[in-house]
Homo-oligomer: 355 residues x 2
């Protein structure tokens, strides 16, 4: 039976990315050695890194004056690294839930943190729209997509101060105006690669201004200066990212990913709205195209487990909602096909019809 | 032609580890999903992590009261993380070269650092033996094997204070008395896995004593408390580590690895010592079994490039010495066969005979 991977992350990757990565793990570029065994200093790896950086710049239309680096590990370390590098006196944070809260917590070790707005009053099921941004803050930090609650900020916030964006779960799913950001960071395990690498896009002239001694590995300049080769980078995850970036480009770039995401999410949201068993948990205008969260309607609460079993039998994988929200979550990253969304909607419809 | 992988890291892995990992990248446990696409919270991944931790404890005979965790990224971050967690007032460091120097540099951000001894006077070609260890220091940090110069501390230093060991390049190559350490850390890309994950063994009762606020991701307690699942761990590198750990166990454990390392290194060192063209760069008693460094004898300096070409033609990969030492380096990690060492020695012999 065909399976549809709706995991929230690590998550679906294009089949050709999987097959090409597996092939290189067996034999890298016909060298007789595995991709896992080659030196990051070998002449065959530098082109992998260079092409990956170039593709990120091309796909996101990164302006001059920005550097793109790969760091080992996940985005959670960036919750510390961002304020350590960028917070001079005061930073503004938009609190859209768990990830924003975690990043605010770490920032407080480095200076004053202003929460410009929060949607905690409604369990983060919407994105606050009206708030003041302190013009004397060093940056406004936003989590552009929240995997847990299924909210997304799909357009850059109009801000008088530079943005810093945690785009771990929606990077490469739509065009981004990078010029509005001092820094964008993203753990790779959603739209890009296997877990184990984080992409950082930084505005060079903003580095080195924070009034503190930064541990070498946490200083973005270390990695910018050495082209992500200060220490051994995660070779295989970066190769996997390269394969995905090539696939995105070949598939029409982030504009095509955006179009597909809109179409794909509409299929599922339309069915949620139509189907008398379910309801979406997020305010319509703030619904994420990446993580579609919904629950059983009150009258059908006892059908939650039966639907989970039914959907699992139909090949739907990873659709259990996060414990903070309950219900279901269908994560639809770039590699999820329209057919997958249709299969999921059909599964909901079929379950309703069985009653 | 058969290739022999003498890369310093990332480096040789057992062929069955490579093949099994590649297979799981294509289809994890017959699930129809790639190992790269599965959730770290899925029921199939927890057993991977649990088995890997259990095997590390078994292979290194880790005593009660220690935790084993996997962190994303490399060992270089540990140069900061170690003093951030363990340095209360003063720490002692044994300076055996680049890696020790880097770790000392970061420790200075957190307190007083005492260099108990250095072999800088001879470009780190020996391990200092006679030195005082301040009994009021919190720990003595040692780099047990130095990949660049090819030195190794093969027996725990007799120390009145706890040791902290960077074992990135010789972990699992020999038995270790873990009870002498407050912390052992090791980037995976030598004896364990692809690059992208670091193993940490910490003594639980020593955590939480440092007088500072530790960023959440740098606090070992975060990861101990959450069983390496505070944030998304690098799933594929951890799986690869598990495969290697199984292979080590099946091959007789670290005692067998040690025996093989001794035999393997002897084959190459004996040839270096016999062959009139070459000489080892490290004091005999401190020669690393992992990284065998040597140069051309003075009279044959002009043969360096020809030997490099000859060896490359014979299938020897990654034997160029580090730029700080020059000459050659044959890195012989666990997966290097005796046959590989014999082939390398034969290659040296054949080159000499051609003259």
């Amino acid at each position: 039976m065909k399976k549809y991977n709706f995991n929230a992350g690590p998550s679906i990757l294009p089949r050709e990315v999987i097959e090409n990565t597996a092939k290189q793990v067996l034999d890298f570029n016909g060298s007789g050695l595995s991709l896992m065994e080659i030196s990051h200093r070998s002449k065959d790896f530098q082109p992998v890194l260079d092409e990956a950086v170039a593709l990120i710049k091309e796909l996101l239309n990164v302006p001059e004056g920005y550097s793109v680096i790969f760091l080992g590990g996940g985005a959670s370390l960036q919750f510390t690294q961002v304020p350590c590098n960028f917070l001079i006196k005061k930073a503004a944070y938009l609190n859209t839930g768990v990830w924003a809260k975690k990043s605010m917590k770490e920032a407080k070790l480095y200076g004053e943190v202003v929460e410009v707005a929060t949607s905690a009053d409604a369990n983060f099921t919407y994105i606050p729209k009206v708030f003041d941004i302190p013009t004397d803050a060093d940056y406004l930090h936003v989590t552009t997509n929240n995997t847990i609650y299924g909210t997304e900020i799909r357009k850059e916030i109009d801000s008088p101060i530079p943005l810093i964006g945690d785009m771990s779960s929606d990077i490469f799913s739509r065009p981004v105006d990078v010029s509005k950001y001092d820094c964008i960071y993203a753990g790779a395990q959603k739209n890009l690669a296997m877990a184990g690498v984080t992409v950082i896009i930084v505005k060079d002239e903003k580095l080195g201004r924070a009034p503190r001694q930064i541990p070498t590995m946490l200083d973005y300049r270390t990695h910018v200066d050495k082209g992500s080769m200060f220490n051994t980078p995660p070779v295989v995850p970066i190769y996997c990212a390269l394969e995905t970036l090539r696939w995105i480009k070949k598939s029409g770039g982030v504009e095509a990913m955006d179009k597909k995401a809109i179409e794909r999410a509409k299929i599922i949201y339309d069915e949620i709205d139509r189907n008398r068993l379910f309801r979406g948990t997020v305010k319509e205008e703030d619904r994420s195209l990446m993580n579609i969260c919904f629950v059983m309607n009150e009258d059908f609460a006892e059908l939650e487990k039966p639907f989970m079993e039914f959907a699992t039998q139909k090949g739907m994988v990873g659709i259990k909602g996060h414990r903070d929200v309950g219900g279901f979550r269908a994560s639809c990253y770039n590699a999820m096909s329209i057919e997958g969304a249709e299969a999921f909607a059909a599964c909901m419809k079929e379950f309703e019809a069985k009653l």
